[in-house]
Amino acid sequence: MNYTFHWRPAFRALPEMLAGSLVTLQIAVLSMVIGIAIAVLLAVMTGSKSRWLRGIAGTWIEVARNTPALFQIYIAYFGLGQIGIHLDSYLALLAGITFNNAGYLAETFRGGLRAVPQTQVRAARSLGFGPIAAFRLIVLPQLFRAVFHPMTNQMVWAILMTSLGVVVGVNTDLTGVTQELNVRTFRTFEYFAIAAVLYYLIAKVVTLGARLIAWRLFRY
């Protein structure tokens, strides 16, 4: 085996890879925003009186949490194609990660709601707050704190999951761009090492940003 490192051409590809990083971040952010919305719905559904709604939410959460993310993305691409829903690679990746996020976050939100005792609502109502004001002013801030760190973790996880898009042909995100460069030049190690550093930096920035927000927001 003799492989000599050529970093110079690899570094020349940096602008291309940074553009890919932006796409990666975009998919992660979108998958979180949509995932959070669905997760709230799922969390509410798990407490529903309807067996159907509970069943759907329960199945979603179970599957999302107990099958590989790779399969979830695969199914969004090939599986949905079988039943006539054709998503392009980008949308399939987004759908797969969103599915995964929603399942994990639904469980997070359920736990968060349980962490805010019903007695807090009672105390608020007894002061003359209506149900909506009691939720907004008393429950929500406590709930937000309880779910903030798990949400940050899921965001980092979503960033890393975007790399799986390469299996359904996504070629614009960081991994996709890297893979194309690799195929063109066979400088495998250099490109993937740079990509790894970029992933690390993105994840770090997100975690540090979250820590800063938490420090500003949670005073107790």
Binding site: T119, R122, A123, S126, L127, F129, L137, R145, Y220
Partner: protein, 240 residues
């Protein structure tokens, strides 16, 4: 005046209040004593409409609490209630805990709300804890804060539900002193309590509660010295 007339209430199969009647006049302090599970907390929650009732009625200053037309959020402003525990909002400072309802329910300005809250917090001896979060307070301080928070709404009535039961013994006194102060100032109070000394010294009347019914009611002297019902005597024998 609070008028409770033949109130019944069940949780599913379990009938918790079995026809309770009680009238509390302005300025009166009524202590409610009795074993746990007898329905005392449920009764207090019915008085400010936190729990619905099955039959009978409750009037507060002539307004029927459980009537459809009653604005409960408005009615609750004149009834302060302090629970056994978990009263404090942990994400708000002592001052914010006390001003929140003043600002968001009564619509007072921040300056106005602060002034009222600080006055009430001084009243209960928490003036140097304004910026502290409840997590940093002792249980006794948390309960005094809850009392100040309720008082800040200038209620006509105060309901206390075993507010010292969850406290370490050495913290009970400071909370009872605060309540005693209120009673001396003429506040109308219904006090569910296990503190027989307090019930005896501070109340105008004492009601003995058992199995969802008031078995006996009278002056502290009557209840503690000459109970008429064997159940009352038996209960007092077990706690004194």
């Amino acid at each position: 005046m609070i008028e409770i007339e033949n109130v019944r209430k069940s949780f599913g199969q379990l009938e918790v209040l079995k026809g309770v009647s009680l009238a509390v006049d302005r300025g009166e302090v009524v202590s409610v004593i009795g074993g746990s599970g007898s329905g005392k907390s449920t009764l207090l929650m019915c008085i400010n409409g936190l729990e619905p009732i099955d039959s009978g009625r409750i009037l507060v200053d002539g307004v029927e609490v459980h009537a459809r037309s009653t604005d409960l959020n408005k009615l609750r402003r004149k009834i302060g209630i302090v629970f056994q525990q978990w009263n404090a909002f942990p994400h708000l400072t002592v001052l914010e805990n006390t001003t929140l309802a003043l600002r968001k329910v009564l619509g007072k300005s921040r300056a106005e709300a602060d002034a009222i809250a600080i006055k009430q917090l001084e009243h209960v001896g928490l003036q140097d804890k304004l910026k502290v979060f409840p997590g940093k307070l002792s249980g006794g301080q948390q309960q005094r804060m809850a009392i100040a928070r309720a008082l800040a709404m200038s209620p006509s009535y105060m309901l206390f539900d075993e507010v010292t039961s969850a406290l370490d013994p050495q913290l009970v006194g400071e909370v009872l002193d605060t309540m005693r102060l209120l009673a001396d100032e003429g506040m109308t109070m219904i006090v569910v309590t296990h503190e027989m000394g307090f019930a005896r010294e501070v109340s105008n009347r004492v009601a003995f509660f058992k199995d969802g019914l008031i078995h006996e009611i009278g002056t502290p002297k009557q209840i503690f010295e000459q109970p008429q019902r064997p159940e009352t005597a038996e209960f007092l024998g077990s706690v004194l």
